[in-house]
């Protein structure tokens, strides 16, 4: 029972983990990308479209191409979305909040439109389902069933779940223990100083935002291919994208803390289904918890004002050399 809950909590947490790791990288470069929900929609829908086209093309899909094609399609879709954001905010110095919200409008529309009508465009309608390909994504580790509760909680996930954890760990290591990470953080804290020190601010901002977008897009891919088993429902992804942004705050801009945070959030997301006798009104209050907790964390970090737990100092601000 407890093992099942934890298993479900982790499965719920993985899309959030992808999203928050991507957003942390982005925010570390000083870009507050509110387009993340849209990017995650794009990543998910491009992935499922790739899978659909592949299933249409071949008689018997094989695992290698069945995973590679949706994966690439998803990465390309979300990177392009992040590139739009980067071009507008970095090169054209547009307002980050407005650009991000526009990207979310676009991305959610893109996802729901193509997710909902791709079958109409290429065939004669019907719901979109790519179960065969999705099963490749859902393949669990071979010895998951033999290890009892441990296997059920930790080993019975599709490979993308482990990719999420690995990416988060790598991101944490890169940010804190490499020169690239140091440069990236300095760009987010004070781009003018970083520029004076010879760091290419534009390059770092572009790369961080695009790589961050690609990672966040994988969250969408995990959701459609693994969590829902290869089907698209309009608006099915819900507000998970905003949830991922909340997780960034909860994790205090640390990807490794985000791993644990995502499981906690995932648990809060589903916990009410496992508590008996919870009235519907109590469920509503329960669903409020993650947001309230995030607000409290946000307030506490600003009240305590500890240097290492703050948002990047130039978060949300544009940088233009001439305007100093």
């Amino acid at each position: 029972m407890i093992a099942t809950i934890l298993n479900k909590a982790i499965a719920q947490g993985i899309p959030l983990l992808f999203g928050s790791t991507g957003e942390i990288l982005t925010e570390k470069s000083g870009n507050l990308n509110l387009g993340i929900p849209g990017i995650m929609y794009m990543g998910g829908s491009c992935g499922i479209i790739g899978a659909y086209l592949y299933e249409q093309m071949v008689e018997v899909p094989n695992a290698f191409w069945g995973i590679l094609i949706p994966l690439l399609a998803s990465l390309i879709g979300s990177t392009l979305a992040a590139l739009i954001y980067s071009f507008l905010t970095i090169t054209l110095r547009a307002n980050q909040n407005v650009t991000g919200l526009a990207l979310t409008t676009f991305g959610v529309g893109f996802g729901d439109f193509f997710g909902g009508s791709i079958t109409k465009i290429f065939a004669n309608g019907g719901t979109l389902s790519v179960k065969t390909t999705a099963d490749f994504f859902k393949t669990t580790l071979p010895f998951a069933d033999d290890l009892g509760w441990f296997g059920e909680i930790f080993l019975s996930h599709g490979f993308l779940a482990y990719v999420a954890v690995i990416i988060a760990l790598v991101a944490a290591w890169v940010l804190n223990h490499t020169r690239v990470g140091l440069h990236l953080r300095s760009v987010g804290e004070n781009p003018a100083t970083a520029d004076a020190a010879g760091i290419n601010v534009t390059k770092y901002k572009y790369l961080a935002t695009c790589i961050g977008g690609a990672i966040a897009g994988l969250g969408g891919l995990f959701f459609v291919m693994d969590y829902t088993g290869g089907s698209w429902t309009s608006g099915g992804f819900g507000d998970r994208g905003w949830f991922a942004i909340a997780l960034v705050i909860f994790a205090l801009w640390k990807p490794n803390v985000g791993i644990l945070g995502s499981f906690v959030f995932g648990g809060l997301y589903i916990a009410y289904t496992y508590i008996d006798g919870l009235s519907r009104s109590a469920v509503a209050i329960f669903n409020m918890l993650p947001y309230v907790v995030t607000i409290i964390v946000l307030i506490l970090t600003s009240v305590r004002n500890k240097k290492e737990n703050q948002p990047p100092a130039s978060l949300g601000l544009p940088y233009f050399r001439e305007e100093r």
Binding site: L34, A94, G109, D112, A284
Partner: protein, 372 residues
């Protein structure tokens, strides 16, 4: 002037801020018009690629969405006034560079307060007592939702963008919570039309038009906001704080007070928008009643450069597009979400074109004498 110094290569493109000698008004609007036309062309390309329909025919449908019949015109005006009202609400805060993206939640709280008043007092109190009471309740509800993040911003410099964003979802869950108690019929999980039979607590019709009062109220708010921002001392303080907090402090403006006061106004106006939405339009409450307008309003306000009068044009543009795209979607049996894609593309273009208004792009001049 013969020297042997090697010139480092001049970059191909250099960008300079226009600064004081900004682009003349007419030229700036010309740039924006070009951007919108380009965006429409791109949208046409997308529509043709996806559907294969003649784009001119599609654009004719787009027009019908807002102007097809007198009912459609009224509906369009109603949506326009709601979006405009929320856009006006977020404007003073934005002008102060307080990134309030919680208008969605603040409006929802206003709507929730209106629904509560209608349910508990709508049939008990005479209208002369009821309407002021509802107004106060809505204003307070929106105000509280706006001022809490402002307090923490002023006191501890808590990031307001993230704080207000989270407050939206707290409001949504609070609405779900209330719906459980108000649902009608039982176990439907919806509130249904409140006071359907008596229509008590509904904003009255004017001249037989049910939305006219809404539209007039928003028109009044528009004029009021224009005067407030442009001619009042408060409006001046807001723009100084927005330009530079340090300057504001130096000239003796109490920055914290201005932040709190401005967010109170923002939240209160959102609360009024919620009232118009619940009592004046839908006569019910649900989680999605604001429908993302709180976010769209931010773009509307920003595109209008925080000018309330221009804002009526930008919100018209957005509403026109959304209704038109909805019309296209039903006519050609496409998915409704097409409108979001088109809106997104057009927004990208408008957002991008501001760059060419604010900055000058200089290409490297071919200079033969320089090649030493």
């Amino acid at each position: 002037m013969q020297t042997n110094v090697k010139h480092t290569k001049e970059p191909l493109i250099t960008i300079t801020s226009r600064g004081r000698d900004s682009m003349p008004m007419k030229k700036a609007w010309g740039v924006r018009a070009i951007a919108i036309i380009l965006a429409f062309i791109l949208c046409a390309v997308v529509i043709v690629m996806v559907t294969g329909y003649n784009p001119l025919k599609v654009y004719a449908e787009l027009f019908k969405g807002s102007f097809g019949s007198s009912r459609k015109i009224w509906n369009m005006l109603q949506e326009l006034s709601m979006l405009l009202c929320i856009s006006l609400a977020v404007t003073p805060a934005f002008k102060m560079k307080f990134w309030n993206i919680g208008a969605e939640g603040q409006t929802l709280m206003g709507g929730l307060a209106a629904a509560a008043c209608m349910i508990y007092f709508g049939e008990k109190l005479p209208p002369i007592v009821f309407f002021p009471l509802m107004l106060v309740a809505c204003v307070v509800a929106g105000l509280v939702w706006g001022i809490v993040p402002a307090y923490f911003k002023a006191k501890f410099n808590t990031n307001e963008t993230l704080f207000t964003l989270m407050m939206n979802y707290v409001a949504v869950q609070l609405t779900s919570f209330c719906i459980v108690f108000w649902e009608n019929p039982k176990d439907s999980n919806t509130v249904g039309v409140i006071n359907r039979a008596t229509q008590s607590g509904w904003l009255p019709e004017l001249f037989g038009q049910k939305y006219l009062l809404n539209i007039l109220i928003v028109a009044l708010i528009t004029v009021g906001m224009y005067i407030y921002l442009k001619y009042s001392k408060h409006g001046y303080e807001i723009s100084v704080v927005g330009e530079s907090e340090n300057t504001a402090r130096y000239v003796g403006i109490n920055v914290k007070k201005v932040i709190l006061r401005t967010m109170a106004i923002s939240g209160a106006l959102c609360g009024i928008a919620g009232l118009l939405l619940v009592s004046g339009t839908d006569h019910t409450i649900n989680r999605d009643i604001v429908g993302g307008m709180g976010f769209t309003a931010i773009m509307v306000s920003w595109l209008a450069k925080f000018n309330p009068v221009v804002m009526s044009l930008t919100s018209f543009l957005i509403v026109f597009l959304e209704r038109g795209a909805g019309e296209i979607a039903t006519k050609f049996q496409l998915n409704e979400s097409m409108s979001d894609i088109l809106t997104g593309i057009i927004l990208f273009f408008i957002i991008g074109c501001e760059f060419f208004i604010q900055y000058k792009v200089n290409f490297r001049k071919k200079n033969k004498e320089e090649n030493v």
